[in-house]
């Protein structure tokens, strides 16, 4: 069960990445954030950002044009 859910379906660059970052700032340490999107490049760059931010990538599911990413702050 995610603590924060973000829906960035049909949004394009850089909105999914930016909304992920905003959610991470809102989250408490340990919170799980679930992001749903359809922009293929974001499916690759969000995990890159998660690594750069030192967060935990829990799951990348779905296809490049309909994906869900779960991260833990």
């Amino acid at each position: 069960m995610a603590d924060i859910r973000i829906d960035v379906r049909y949004e394009t660059c850089p909105v999914p990445l930016v909304e992920m970052r905003k959610a991470v700032r809102r989250a408490e340490p340990g919170d799980i954030i679930e992001i749903a999107g359809t922009h293929p490049a974001s499916q690759k760059e969000i995990p890159m950002a998660v690594e750069a931010l030192g967060l935990e990538l829990l799951a990348v599911e779905g296809t490049p044009d309909a994906w869900t990413i779960r991260i833990r702050r």
Binding site: E11, T12, C13, P14, L17, R21, K22, E45, M48, A52
Partner: protein, 139 residues
Amino acid sequence: MAERTTIVVASGDMDKLYSALIIANGALSMGLEASLYFTFWGLERLKRGGLEKGALSKMHFLGLGKLFMTSRMKKANVASLERLMRDFKELGGKIIACDMTMEIMGVSKESLQQDLIDEYGAVGAYIGDARQSNITLFI
């Protein structure tokens, strides 16, 4: 200290402002700090209501090209410059207005969107940020 991106925004063209704000927001999203240094025609975009007023750098065609581009962008659901700027500030991005440009182009503080601007500075402000930056661009 966090890594940093510093971008000089010298152009006031719409497409170039998109480039600057998208790169800066990408940097902030990936954990870097970011500064945008607005100078010359770029400073025009910091005027009240000026953010969306830039021409296309190519194929502007007296505004027809921009109209076409804007409608294509709307279809692709591209965020507005206003939204990108709001996100930039919300994620802690820093905006510097070039005070020499203000002087030579007769731009008063009152004509600028002062709530966006963190600092009024000269080249030293840019170098101060740029020397601590891993990425610096001139747009």
